[in-house]
Amino acid sequence: MSDADSVTTPPSPPPAKPPWHDLARGRVARPGEWLVEKGIFAVSLTAIVMILLIFVFVGREALPILLGQADSAAARVQRILPPEDVDRMTPSELRAALGLSRRKFAARSLEEQKAALKEIYAVRAEADRNGAEAIPDKDSEVNTVGWRYLILPHQWTGYSRPEFIWQPVSQIQKFNVVPLLVGSLKVTLVAVLFALPLALGAALYVSQFASRRLRAWIKPAIEMLAGVPSVVLGFFALFVLAAALESVFAFQSRLNAFVAGIALGVAIIPVIFALAEEALSAVPRGYVEGALAVGASRWQAAWGVALPAAWPGVFAAVVLGFGRALGETMIVLMASGNAAILSWSLFDSSRTVTATIAAELGEVVFGGHHYRVLFLLGTLVLAVSFVANLVADGVMNRLRRRLASSS
């Protein structure tokens, strides 16, 4: 068959076509596909669900303390009921008083359970009679997880003046979070102050001065720095940076807020760089070229025109870098020294909020006061980084829109 033939003659007579009204087949013509698409939709909600779950499940453990319902003093002075009252209890009251799961409670008869509870009360009453004579300590009356004691200084027995004490492992647990907050603040501040000039300088260089080829190398290289695991940065701070800085500054303690801050700064350089560079590169070429045309030097154009135009982006970068630094754990855990002592000196051993959670959560009683305070700290870190994210995001979006519309 020749080619010309096939073009001019249709290959075969067209088969009978169904009428066009067959197109109307109802909304769900393909139930299988419809189902799959509903599935895709459901899965796409994962991120929203996870964010909500994170807030719920981290916040939930901290809730009793947040609402001021936890009371460490009350836990120590426990309620004791006379045997007649125990006999009158309903099964559910009994189960609650024994603190048993439904399953465990069902394992024994009601009478046995009542006997067990009476036994417990008898032992407790005995202990109280002995204890009351032994230590009349005013500290044991204090609800150490009350807001007042979490934030304000308190003069504990044996101290000469009111102090901020974080001492969760002791007879009377002390949960004052101020030393930890100060520790976090110090380390974060050092990190941001160290990272900002470097990251901003690099962002200016890459966006304004570097050739395209150079830029194509530098940007991925700085991204690689972001790929260095924080445990490796922590290790580096611990073994190399601490020794190097100690020989220069001659610290009191080898590991301190300053060492941790510098290492943390290295970790957030890529974060600040990425946002600042994006903002600077988004500044329309016309701005800079206009400045160059009226005789400004390239530096004047970059510093006096591009940077001010991208200023919100730089602000967003700092906010985000701050949030990241505050949430970073491994580096500070390894390099800050971890002494939970209130001190404003950068060269004292310090402990941050995140390092406290990481170091202590492994040893706490599940559901205990210490456990809840650690979750409270976690909620705080989550909230602060969430807000930092929100602010950085909002600022960047507005900047992107503005620069896009003016270019």
Partner: protein, 300 residues
Amino acid sequence: MSRVGPTLTALATGLILAMLALILGHVTVHGWSVVTWGFLSGGAEEGLFTVGRSGIFPMLFGTAARVILMTLLVIPAGVITAVYLNEYAPASGRLTRWVRGAVNHLAGVPSIVFGLFGLGFFIGFVGAGLDDWLRPGAVQPYWAGEGLLWASATLAVMTLPVVVVATEEALRAVPAGLREASLALGATRLQTIIRIVLPHSLSGILTGSILAIGRAAGEVVPLLFTGAALYVSRLPGSLNDKFMDLAYHVWVLCTQSPDIDQTKPLLYGTVLVLLGLTLSLNLVAVVIRARISRNPQATP
């Protein structure tokens, strides 16, 4: 000033690159001779801290196991989310904005919070729920404990944004003409996605996965409360087994060693392997991405 300014910015750039080089160089110089076949394939039969004897095979195994498991969880979720955002959702819809916002915020949640979340949600809630449901009457917790599955699940939540963002970028790069051609041929939306859009964005999905793996491989904090162990005698054999882990092992060697100066070679060797692993993953991702952006049509 017009000379000094640019020079200073170049200096800042150089300094940052020098830090990267310094870390890499230092670790390589001190760790190179330690990383032998024996080190990579050896275990902890003679303790964790015996220089020349202790190896990191169980840690490599644990890291691989948790990362693979995580990948199995996060890739479908991340790719499907990106497909929804880019192929189905109305660009300006409220729900779309919410999903995007959630992905963005997930990326900003600190790793310590993921650790708390893994403990509070996966172990304390899901695991405990599973135990109550599947094994009523059992005294020992089975699911309500630290283990491979919960560590991987926690990491999967953490790396979800990495996969979503990279996949979305790849989906956006698919020419609209290809989608329209497919639709005009009578393919349904789903067929178009499966047969045209996803194959075309395969390298972008790959980039996202590699970045997620690289990020997860170096993470320690979420593992602290969800499954990593200082020492276990066996390799993890089931989903609820605790495991040794490479990144966690760096932390162990830094803080638990009986004689830190003497065990330093082990530390350097481990750090070199970890750094090599994470950075080469990052490098691969960077290279693939550069190739996509240079030549978007050439991807199969």
